[in-house]
């Protein structure tokens, strides 16, 4: 698909070592830091008027993306939402190209066609980020279907929010995946809100994982801010799916530290809630664990600095890339 010729491939200098799926604490921390710094940059960029369009950030939810994506291997795939920067990076999409896409640059992951809501890197299994709530769940069904059809042993992970569990496509997808016993992990990132609405206002049950029962499917709720717990769960369910055990629904409890999108100050939050969750920030939790198991503050600090420099450099590279010319809009509608 003319992919190799694309500028982005040449211009990108981000090593995609994440594809090696290393899962030591330091590896996970590095992956989460990359995402955190990426999101923080996006936040600053739009505050500075340098990022156009919608910008849904995922600070605070990194452990879910990293824990699940690190449990995947070659050939496995992932779909996610508009709030999908973390998942796409966690699959190994190059950071500079991801920034490039946010900025609408040539060499961005989608060559500037998709933007913040649609970061996609099929080459690392990041099949797409989707802007219509629930719309990608059926598409994950298809990716998992293909794995089963081909007996490839591949697994798909599908990330979505708590609010998405009330839309029709959720229901059809879980039922379909279950009756076909597809290798598919549905990961509901329960960050307590859909836009400005707390879950209890829109959803008559408290544990979303319980909805798995409607489909004869395995369901469980986990702490989505403890990356090692996420990773352990992911490994267990991914192996199960690979071996023909069928799909599962995981409800990962987490928190969206920023507003729903750029313009949302989060005024609807009860006082103290954000602060409580900031104490349970997944980076803080992991760093605490590492400190207690022998890492030093200096080591952690130097990792932070190193990752920060890499992410800064990736952004600088992306900012140096040109905008696609207006005429590029005619490309990529249909394949030849």
């Amino acid at each position: 698909m003319a992919r190799a010729e694309r500028k982005g491939e040449d211009m990108s200098e981000t090593t995609t070592q994440v594809r090696e799926r290393a899962t030591g604490d330091a590896d996970l921390l590095r992956a989460m830091l990359e995402i955190r710094f990426f999101e923080d940059h996006c936040h600053e960029l739009f505050a500075a008027g340098l990022l156009r369009g919608a910008t849904h950030l995922g600070q605070g939810q990194e452990a879910v993306s990293v824990g699940f994506c690190r449990a995947l291997g070659e050939g496995d795939t992932m779909t996610c939402t508009y709030r999908g920067h973390a998942a796409t990076l966690a699959m190994g999409a190059p950071i500079d190209r991801a920034f490039g896409e946010m900025l609408g640059r040539q060499g961005g992951l989608c060559d500037g066609k998709g933007g913040s809501m649609h970061l996609t890197d099929v080459s690392v299994g990041a099949l797409g980020a989707f802007g219509v709530v629930g719309a990608h769940l059926p598409i994950s069904v298809g990716a998992a279907f293909a794995a089963k059809y081909r007996r490839s042993g591949a697994v798909n992970v599908c990330f979505f929010g708590d609010g998405a569990t009330n839309i029709g496509a959720f229901h059809e997808s879980l039922n379909f995946a279950s009756i076909m016993k597809l290798p598919l992990i549905f990961v509901c990132e329960n960050n307590l809100y859909g836009e400005y609405s707390p879950l209890a206002k829109t959803t008559p049950i408290e544990r979303l994982a319980d909805r798995a029962a409607s489909y004869g499917m395995h369901g469980e709720r986990i702490d989505g801010n403890e990356v090692q717990e996420v990773l352990e769960t992911a490994r267990r369910l991914v192996s199960r799916a690979r071996e023909g055990g069928g799909p599962a629904l995981v409800e990962a409890m987490t928190y969206r530290q920023k507003g729903h999108a750029r313009s949302d100050p989060g005024a609807y939050r009860p006082p103290g809630e954000l602060e409580e969750w900031l104490e349970r920030d997944p980076l803080t939790l992991l760093e605490a664990r590492m400190l207690s198991s022998g890492s030093t503050r200096e080591e952690l600090e130097s990792l932070r600095t190193q990752v920060k420099e890499e992410v800064d450099a990736a952004l600088a590279r992306a900012q140096s890339w040109p905008e696609p010319p207006a005429g590029a809009r005619f490309e990529d509608v249909l394949a030849a």
């Binding site: 609408g104 500037g112 066609k113 933007g115 649609h118 219509v132 839309i167 609405s197 829109t202 207006a326």
Partner: protein, 324 residues
């Protein structure tokens, strides 16, 4: 009084809620947060939770709820946030809402108003930037309205809510802050009536929503060269006002339709076909359609800007038609 389109819509909703206890508002985050685009801001405080309803992310249920409530005599005003999301409840809109009256042999009216934020220009990319009205043009049983200024926004909203039929109400999201006069005692605007917003003699330019401003810009530019465009704001997309457009074409003998969408299956192609059919002898030239490119809406700034028709494109079309 000078107000924004957002304010005019908000006022219309408030006045309708005030005037008729059967009117209620339903949609995602329309109550507590006043809507993602803040059009319903303050209504919860004014009218209470018995009139303004937040919902789960369930567009089929939102529209179905509105249909069933209307079947029971209420006058729901539903919000679908982005017009693109009409696709997730498309069956409710085109197979149910549009057809229930007909299939029942006229046993019932269906006074539902469905509001949606429409159109591009905000770098929201392909799934949040479409003009949604074209999807509904081949479906009899629906009225489609799309204002381009505060007075029309107010007047059409009141008309939509009062109408005994389903009305899809398109609010262009790049225009919420556009300002204009709203009289102290604002009037209902009849659905189905286009407005001549700038009279002229050389060619008729028909536009809607954000393209009305572009057409006026083009008219201004050409006026300096002695070419006078008549600009018509459709205001209602279905039913199209062939009388107003046709009478204008009979005078100007030239037609340019300007829309923020590709040509295929659009209101512009519908309009051109009908006007050609009815006024062929009046036409000095082939009607031109100034439309978006035949692609999804791109994200990148230069690409998106080029995708949206602008005044220059309208001027070029007029130059071609009028050979000036």
């Amino acid at each position: 009084m000078i107000v924004t389109i957002r304010q005019a819509l908000n006022r219309a909703l408030g006045d309708a809620l005030e005037a008729d206890p059967d009117v209620f508002i339903v949609g995602e985050d329309v109550a507590g947060n006043g809507g993602v685009f803040k059009v319903t801001d303050g209504l919860l405080d004014r009218f209470g939770a018995d009139r303004i309803y937040d919902t789960p992310i369930s567009e089929q249920a939102i529209i179905g709820c509105s249909i069933g409530a209307a079947l029971s005599g209420l006058r729901p005003v539903a919000e679908i946030m982005f017009a693109d999301f009409a696709a997730v409840c498309f069956d409710q809109l085109v197979n149910q809402m549009a057809k229930i009256r007909y299939m029942s042999g006229g046993q019932t009216g269906l006074p539902v108003t469905v509001r949606m934020a429409n159109g591009g220009g905000g770098a929201f990319a392909a799934q949040h930037s479409q003009t949604g009205e074209h999807w509904f043009l081949n479906t009899p049983g629906l009225k489609l309205v799309a204002p381009s200024n505060p007075a029309d926004a107010y007047g059409l909203m009141r008309a939509a809510i009062a109408d005994p039929n389903p009305v899809l109400f398109f609010e262009h999201k790049s225009m919420y802050n556009d300002k204009g006069e709203l009289p102290e005692d604002p009037q209902v605007v009849e659905i189905g009536r286009a407005a001549i917003v700038r009279p002229g003699e050389s060619a008729t330019v028909v536009a809607s929503q954000a393209m009305v401003g572009k057409a006026l810009e083009a008219a201004e530019q050409l006026a300096q060269r002695g070419v006078s465009l008549e600009v018509i704001d459709l205001r209602t997309i279905a039913p199209l006002d062939y009388e107003t457009v046709g009478a204008s074409v009979d005078r100007t003998n030239n037609l340019i339709a300007v829309q923020e969408a590709p040509v295929g299956g659009s209101w512009a192609s519908t309009l051109v076909t009908e006007i050609v059919g009815r006024h062929f002898e009046s036409l000095d030239s082939a009607p031109a359609v100034v439309a978006s490119d035949d692609t999804p809406v791109p994200f990148g700034e230069a690409m998106e800007r080029a995708w949206l028709p602008d005044a220059d494109a309208i001027v070029s079309a007029a130059e071609r038609l009028l050979k000036v």
